[in-house]
């Protein structure tokens, strides 16, 4: 492994807290959703396997600990969706000025939390994060 600095060059950037947080959260939630996709396909395969296979999978998917997983996935989905749209707007070279970016970071936080609560409520879960 070379001794020169390697990507991501975390040490060369002056990162104020909100830029760092919004960026790394987008990554984290993306990876979380990738694992959520495993759950989705596991469930789809169980459904395709018939009523017995689905009932077996449902027992696993209904474990109390899974509520935490679903809450985390809802948080991840809502954040990644809203933050992703912010990235797509950036890709059109709009909203890149510092005050705009700070404002959109707050917008992302507010909109995604509202979305999380709506989805968690519709899913019959307690507000996101609660067991």
């Amino acid at each position: 492994m070379p001794t020169r600095p390697l990507s991501p060059h975390l040490s060369v950037y002056k990162m104020s807290r909100y830029t760092l947080a919004t960026s790394i959260l987008n990554r984290l939630t993306g990876v979380a959703l990738s694992t959520g996709q495993l759950l989705l396909v596991y469930w789809l395969m169980a459904v395709a396997g018939g009523a017995r296979a689905q009932a077996q999978a449902a027992r696993l998917l209904a474990l109390p600990v899974m509520k935490l997983v679903y809450a985390a996935l809802i948080v991840a989905f809502c954040y990644h969706l809203v933050a992703g749209i912010r990235h797509l707007i950036w890709d059109t070279a709009r909203g890149l000025e510092r005050p705009q970016s700070r404002r959109s970071a707050w917008l992302v936080a507010v909109i995604s939390v509202v979305l999380m609560l709506i989805v968690a409520y519709s899913a019959g879960l307690a507000p996101a994060g609660a067991p």
Binding site: S7, Q37, L44, A51, A55, A58
Partner: protein
């Protein structure tokens, strides 16, 4: 003086011979996933229950099956591109990096294929 050949400059594909392909596909799949993922979450939440008969009836509708297949394929591609960048950033050492990328790539193909297979099986009425 540029050391790039005229052809290289015109193609604009850089040293990796890919140009902006990765970046562009990541964006295309992201744009597609905005409506697709919202559709998926809303329709899943709208199901009265998740018991076998209900889910089978839902997945057997042509539009549901079609959109589910597209959703699984696009999500898999988007996920693979995203996880690839994460691995490239955080897994150091050429051997470990290549190995991780290969495993992650294989896993994504398997997951995508399994999702499409499951939906097709149900949609064709082959689920027991």
């Amino acid at each position: 003086m540029s050391l790039r050949s005229p052809l290289g400059r015109v193609l604009g594909l850089g040293a990796a011979k890919e140009g902006v392909h990765h970046w562009w596909v990541q964006r295309l799949t992201a744009v597609a996933l905005v409506p697709l993922s919202i559709w998926f979450v809303v329709s899943l939440l709208a199901l009265p229950s998740l018991d076998h008969a209900t889910v089978i009836a839902w997945m057997s509708q042509s539009w549901t099956a079609l959109l589910l297949i597209v959703f699984v394929l696009v999500v898999t591609r988007h996920s693979q591109l995203g996880v690839r960048v994460v691995v490239e950033d955080y897994v150091h050492g050429a051997g470990a990096k290549t190995l991780t990328l290969v495993v992650v790539g294989f896993a994504h193909v398997l997951i995508g294929a399994a999702g499409v297979f499951a939906v097709l099986k149900v949609a064709c009425g082959a689920a027991p």
